[in-house]
């Protein structure tokens, strides 16, 4: 199963990198695109409403119907009309009326730079603000919208991607496991038989049931094992014969050696005698000379 795990780990890493890359790219694109769309939408809505409010303000009235319809928008958070003292004069939720906008950071803080739109991706909200009224009594219309759904959808997308990937990984693992089981089983069997063969056992059973390359390999293995067994027997016999021959020849040699030794002894005796005779001769010669 080591091969299985090697394949599994490789595929897992591949899937992980693929998910991470794909998710990051898709997540970023989806969020950017959605936020742009929402920002655009609320800018348009806010601008229209601000204009309507300004016109009505001059008549001392308010476009309540248009303001009420904001609640039907998915991302809608709140709308406020803030008076020149920073107090919330009108709101979609009457509980905020009479309180100060500055108490609801970041929604009540100045946008700055003369901008009328602010989008904060980190805190997942957007804000449209537009001042209206006479220069000395500037009121403000604020419209807040949430970006949570955008991030929620993106997260859902990633969750689905992860789940699909995990499912793919699981399916692949099962498939690989099945393949491994199907292919490794005869190999394991052959490995076992080889090991048994190495320890001298020639009768370990090897399955020859299927008609595929593995069964051919198994058949070859069995054939090889038979030949090894036959050769082994022949060798054994040859060894036995050799042993006998060796014994016989050794005996022969021993006999010859004995004979040679006896001869040698004889020759050695004669040799000694010869030496002695030579010495005697020498002595006689010497004596002769002296004489």
């Amino acid at each position: 199963m080591r091969l299985f795990w090697k394949l599994f780990y490789s595929f897992f890493i591949f899937i992980l990198v693929a998910i991470a890359s794909f998710s990051y790219i898709s997540y970023s694109r989806q969020i950017s695109s959605s936020i742009e769309g929402i920002e655009s939408k609320y800018h348009a809505i806010g601008s229209l409403l601000a204009r309507e409010i300004e016109i009505n303000y001059l008549q001392g009235t308010w476009p309540f119907d248009s303001l009420k319809s904001l609640k039907g928008e998915n991302e809608f958070l709140f709308w406020w009309v803030i008076d020149e003292k920073g107090r919330i004069y009108l709101a979609d939720d009457e509980k905020f009326i009479g309180t100060y906008a500055r108490d609801y950071a970041p929604f009540g803080t100045e946008l700055g730079n003369g901008d009328d739109m602010l989008v904060d991706k980190k805190q997942q909200y957007g804000l449209f603000a537009k001042k209206f009224g006479p220069p000395d009594r500037k009121w403000e219309f604020r419209l807040g919208f949430s970006l949570q759904d955008v991030f929620k959808e993106a997260r859902a997308f990633i969750a689905i991607a992860i789940l699909i990937s995990l499912a793919t990984l699981a399916a692949f693992s099962l498939f690989i496991f099945y393949l491994m089981t199907r292919f490794l089983s005869p190999i394991s069997s052959l490995m076992k038989a080889t090991k048994e063969l190495s320890e001298g056992r020639m009768d370990y059973p090897v399955s020859l049931k299927k008609n595929d390359e593995f069964s051919e390999l198994a058949a070859s293995f069995v054939d090889m094992r038979k030949k090894i067994a036959t050769t082994s027997k022949k060798l054994e016999q040859t060894n036995k014969n050799l042993e006998k021959e060796v014994i016989r020849r050794t005996k022969q040699l021993d006999e010859k050696i004995d004979a040679l030794e006896r001869l040698n002894k004889l020759f050695v005796g004669r040799e000694s005698k010869m030496v002695e005779l030579k010495q005697e001769i020498s002595k006689l010669k010497e004596a002769g000379k002296k004489a």
Binding site: F12, I13, W62, K68, K95, G98, Q123
Partner: protein, 459 residues
């Protein structure tokens, strides 16, 4: 390797859950405001025990009043409250010298500068001004205004006109005046179906030119306050004498086009049988392009029909000597909820031969117009828009209030306060409204609103 896998899975889980929703919470803060002591004040209570409710409302009122005395008390209770117990307790707390005026407000509640007192069988948890019963009180004291209250039980008089006459005379006397001294203003709270007669009786004493403003008590059951008792069929009146500027405004918030009209050819009291000699409801439905038939065919229920007709009231025109025209509205609704009988009910007595016109309105217009009432009243009284009156009060038709979506109603007291410079005010929801048409006299109509501004404190 296994460790890498485990770590990777953990990272995935963290990535999914760690990006958990981190939305910003928007929680309303406590409202702060200075408590300015004035000569008028308002209070409310939703306690179910009437005695405790009266005490709580009056105590709340005195917290923002310059002194613990009251020359005048306007008390409005939601119908179904124990009116008798309320008036007795109020009399006990305020004493015999306080002129008490008022009665039942229509079911939806009462509106004051502090908000809308809402009545519900299942009050929302934590909702301060919501309960099963409600009482709102306005107390006023000023050495520049003389108040007088009077009342009459219709059953004790030969006619409603006589009862009304008695009530206004009693009020004048309680104000320390004589009947020759015409009041600056007459406030009326009367029971239903007798409004025209009440006006007639009062006008017989103070004249057609005296401004009368008021409303029909909400209910059933309805009640108006007498000196020490409550009447189911009667009238409660208050007269105001002052040299201070008096401003008032009486109007309907509907668009009038004069395009569609007809002559009432058969009527009985407040029931119109025929317009142009044809069944009234059929004619009205034609004016609306068959909307009533369509809506009823779809929904098979009366409520949407009533709502539709509320935004399309009938009106009559009145012209004064100078040719200036006034429109007096009547709130129509089908007599038969099943639309089989074709009569139209109103809360006014339209006479045979009178021409009725069709008007139309939107809730936004109604809300905006209500919000401008104090400004218009101040303008009529010659007061600046930034002025803070000494005494303010209003009457708002229950039908108009009902036409405004519930989610938007809370804006009403905010807008009125802004136009009213946060001066305490009280306004019951009425089942009919009485008001003055300059040059013509005092009339009773429906779907109308009025507001009173007296004096200029300069605050």
């Amino acid at each position: 390797m296994k460790n890498i896998i485990i770590i990777s899975l953990v990272i995935c889980l963290i990535a999914l859950s760690g990006c958990a929703e981190k939305g910003l919470e928007l929680v309303p803060k406590e409202k702060t405001g200075e408590n300015i002591l004035r000569d008028t004040c308002t209070g409310w209570s939703v306690k179910e025990n009437p005695g405790e409710a009266v005490k709580e409302a009056i105590d709340m009122c005195f917290e923002s009043k310059t002194s613990r005395d009251a020359k005048f008390a306007a008390i409005f209770i939601t119908h179904g409250s124990d009116a008798q117990a309320v008036i007795l307790k109020a009399r006990e707390i305020l004493g015999d010298n306080t002129q008490i005026y008022g009665g039942t407000s229509a079911q939806r509640g009462v509106i004051t500068d502090k908000g809308i007192l809402k009545i519900s069988d299942n009050p929302a948890e934590g909702a301060e001004m919501e309960g099963k019963r409600g009482i709102a009180v306005m107390l006023a004291s000023s050495d520049k205004i003389d108040f007088g209250a009077g009342s009459a039980n219709f059953k004790e008089f030969s006619s409603v006109q006589e009862a009304s006459k008695s009530a206004v005379l009693s009020a004048i006397e309680n104000a320390g005046k004589t009947k020759d001294e015409k009041p600056s203003l007459v406030l009326i709270t009367t029971s239903k179906e007798m409004e025209e007669e009440v006006l007639e009786g009062a006008e017989s004493v103070v004249g057609k030119d005296t401004v009368m403003l008021g409303g029909t008590a909400g209910g059933p059951p309805r009640a108006v306050f007498g000196r020490n008792e409550a009447y189911e069929e009667g009238v409660s009146m208050a007269v105001i004498y002052t040299a201070l500027p008096v401003g008032w405004y009486f109007e309907g918030g509907f668009d009038v086009s004069e395009k569609t009209s007809g002559i009432v050819t058969k009527v009985d009291m407040q029931t119109i049988y025929e317009i142009d000699n044809r069944p009234a409801l059929d004619v009205y439905d034609e004016w609306l392009g068959g909307e009533i038939t369509k809506v009823y065919a779809q929904l098979k229920t009366e409520r949407p029909i009533r709502d539709l007709m509320t935004l399309h009231p009938l009106y009559r025109k009145y012209k004064d000597e100078t040719g200036k025209e006034y429109n007096l509205f009547s709130h129509p609704w089908p007599k038969d909820p099943n639309m089989t009988e074709k009569e139209i009910m109103t809360s006014t007595k339209i006479k045979t031969g009178e021409r009725v016109y069709l008007s139309n309105g939107k809730w936004e217009t109604l809300l905006n117009r209500i919000s401008l009432l104090p400004l218009k009243a101040k303008t009529e009284g010659g007061m600046g828009s930034d002025s803070a009156a000494l005494f303010t009060m209003g009457y708002i038709c229950n039908g108009v209030y009902g036409a405004i979506p519930e989610s938007e109603r809370a804006k009403m007291p905010v807008l009125i306060n802004h136009a009213n410079n946060n001066v305490p005010f009280i306004a019951p929801f009425t089942s009919g409204e009485q008001g003055h048409l300059i040059g013509i006299g005092n009339k009773h109509g429906n779907l109308l609103t009025s507001f009173i501004e007296i004096g200029d404190t300069g605050k």
